[in-house]
């Protein structure tokens, strides 16, 4: 609702009658000879003056509400955005203006020939449009490159060639959906186009903050940016420009059932002085691809078991390995099965380090290390030697970004709590799969499933550490994209929690997905975040053949 009264019908009757009484009294006092009770003066002059006066009073009340922190807090939806911006700027909080998603798309051709992608070329996936901001000239050889906008076409194999271009989302807003390998449709395909796909995870866009979200963030804005309590610690973190888009934090400390690091003594009692900061730094985990050297550690009937190590600084705080493939494999190759991931930790070196004694305590932190084994079913092991033969692989990890950076910031001497340590960890992930049916009347148009997927994922992924996920939240997000001829049914929520000890727990429900209370395993509503990739949303369209009544 805006400040201005746009229609005189939207006023409250009590406001108008009060204004009419006041106007009548004032006019009568000023002109005692006029009859202002009923007649032309009353009906044509005072009555309409009172309506206009009530409209102004209403506008003034709205301005007051918008400028009152108490009123804004009571109902942020009623406040004018410009005024809320102005009021909250007094507390050094500014609205997030949103950003467009960006990324790179690999264009695969089935013939080597120079290709031009014009500025404004459109690429679509999952209902989202991405465009090129400038033209790209793909050259067949590096010798032909003449400008910084030129890219070189590389041979991929199997008679295909590829080059990579940069794109940006057409619209500002949350666009946390495009993962590496996601296929794109090209509006005007270049000659000999074979396919187009995301070269890497896209940098997520962010939505313009609503009043409600802005107010929810307000507390950290007015809080002192110091190491004091949970509000101020969060404020301290998000006050830094590079951390301002963090989705949420959860701080576990002394007295919390999830805190065991403060019991490292002869007696199993809490001594305090330890803080775990669980961070959901963005909506979905970031994929990071690295080339590693793996060693053959065993041979089995259908291939070789290879092993590589992940040092603490390689991919700080990663959750899991999403893909292992030969370095020469095509991007669409799904890779090999990861057989084991054994986590450990490394707190060696100089400088202040948090108190960590177990791999579980270090899981998803920047002190986590790991040894990963996988089964390569392609490479012949006949001529290879166990524990000696090595080979390069392309490995894609998934994890929350910024874990190492936040740890480093909070560990700095000027920031660190002088009475204890802090350990920054990625939120314990609960990877979600959501399935539901949309039942439409025979003859009704199909709903826009891509828009629904995005809406559902956005609704879930903006949650911080909610402890439980309600099907009603899903319904609400779906409903906004449906017309009255389509109904929602059979919502199925399935979650896979990756515990810090490396084990998994599956949870499933139709109504509410509760995070189990397993503090000894590092799993509780304080530590777990729901992560929903739009591609893990299954939508079944059902046609209802109800009998015709009329």
């Amino acid at each position: 609702m805006g400040i201005t009264v746009s229609k005189l019908d939207e006023l409250a009757t009590t406001d108008v009658t009060s204004a009419l009484a006041l106007v009548t009294q004032l006019v009568q006092e000023k002109n005692p000879d006029l009859d202002v009770r009923r007649g032309v003066l009353h009906d044509l002059v005072l009555y309409f003056s009172a309506i206009l006066a009530a409209a102004k009073d209403t506008e003034i009340a709205r301005v007051r509400s918008s400028m009152s922190l108490k009123a804004i807090n009571a109902d942020p939806t009623l406040a004018d955005t410009d005024l809320v911006d102005a009021v909250l700027s007094n507390f050094r909080v500014t609205r997030k203006v949103g950003a467009k998603a960006t990324g790179q798309i690999t264009i695969v051709l089935d013939k080597l020939l120079p290709t031009t992608i014009v500025a404004g070329a459109r690429f679509t996936t999952l209902g989202q449009v991405f465009i090129t901001e400038r033209a790209f000239a793909a050259r067949t050889d590096a010798a032909f490159v003449v400008s910084t906008d030129d890219v070189v076409i590389a041979e991929v194999g199997a008679g295909t060639y590829s080059f990579t271009i940069s794109v940006i989302a057409e619209n500002t807003g949350a666009s946390d959906t495009v993962l590496r390998g996601t296929a794109f449709a090209v509006a005007i395909p270049p000659a000999h186009l074979s396919r187009a796909f995301a070269a890497a995870d896209f940098v997520q866009g962010t939505s313009i903050e609503t009043n409600q979200e802005f107010i929810a963030r307000f507390e950290s804005g007015i809080a002192a940016k110091t190491w004091s309590n949970r509000s101020t610690i969060t404020a301290l973190i998000i006050d830094q420009a590079q951390f301002e888009d963090i989705v949420g934090t959860s701080i576990v400390g002394m007295g919390d059932a999830e805190m065991f690091r403060d019991q490292h003594s002869l007696l199993p009692i809490s001594y305090g002085g330890r803080t775990d900061v669980y961070v959901r730094s963005q909506a979905l985990p970031l994929s990071t691809t690295k080339t590693v050297t793996a060693t053959l550690v065993a041979t089995v009937e259908n291939g070789g078991v290879w092993q590589f190590s992940v040092a603490r600084d390689d991919v700080p705080g990663f959750y899991e390995v999403a893909r292992v493939a030969l370095a020469s494999a095509a991007a669409t190759d799904t890779g090999y099965e990861v057989t084991t991931t054994t986590r450990s930790f490394d707190i060696s070196g100089t400088g202040f380090k948090p108190d960590i004694e177990t791999a579980q305590e270090a899981a998803f932190s920047s002190f986590q290390t790991a040894t990963v084994q996988f089964l390569d079913t392609n490479t012949s092991t006949a001529a290879l030697t166990i524990n000696q033969s090595t080979q390069s692989y392309s490995v894609t990890f998934r994890g929350m970004p910024l874990i190492s950076e936040i740890q480093e910031f909070l560990d700095s001497r000027s920031v660190r709590n002088p009475a204890g340590d802090v350990l920054v960890r990625g939120a314990v992930p609960c990877f979600l799969t959501v399935n539901f049916s949309l039942r439409k009347r025979s003859g009704a148009a199909d709903p826009n499933v891509n828009a629904i997927r995005l809406a559902v994922a956005a609704a879930v992924n903006k949650l911080e550490f909610p402890g439980e996920l309600h099907a009603s939240l899903i319904s609400d997000a779906i409903q906004d994209n449906l017309d009255s001829s389509v109904a929602i049914a059979k919502i199925d929520l399935l979650g896979r929690i990756l515990r810090p000890d490396g084990t998994k727990r599956i949870i499933r429900d139709n109504d509410v997905l509760d995070i189990p209370d397993e503090p000894a395993l590092g799993v509780s509503g304080r530590t777990v975040a729901f992560l929903l990739d739009p591609q893990n949303i299954g939508i079944t369209i059902e046609t209802v053949d109800a009998p015709t009544v009329i």
Partner: protein
Amino acid sequence: MSTLADYIGRTVDVSAFHGVEATGEVQLRQVLAETESSGLVITGMQKLAQRFVLEFLTDKGSMKYLPARGGTFLANARAGSLRTEVDVFTSFELALGSIESALLAEENSTDPDDERYLFAELTNIAFTPDHIKLYITLNSRAKTTRSVILPISTLT
């Protein structure tokens, strides 16, 4: 013809109807000011008559923020339910209840008696193909009367 003395100690309203004659049946002009003259102010019995007419001709609910004002007679006329004299008398009496309440509620005991409502009666009815003509006699507390003839269109 009124004189200045007629207005001393009284409150005035703007006249909404021009061409009023003390006696006889004349067609009034519903204007606040005419091209040849300025607007008029009224008081006394004529002001009471104007209050009554305005209240009677206001459709109840048509003033959004004063929903109690007005009567129900016009709504009945538009609905086509006034087909006999009995219908008209009944509808008039029903409307008169709320109109009387409104008029009496806004009066003060200090008002001149000829501006205070006493009662109104429907003395005659004339039907034409497209109108119902109401002959209403309005009585003030000063025992003065004023005849008001209202042609109500029955075509919608």
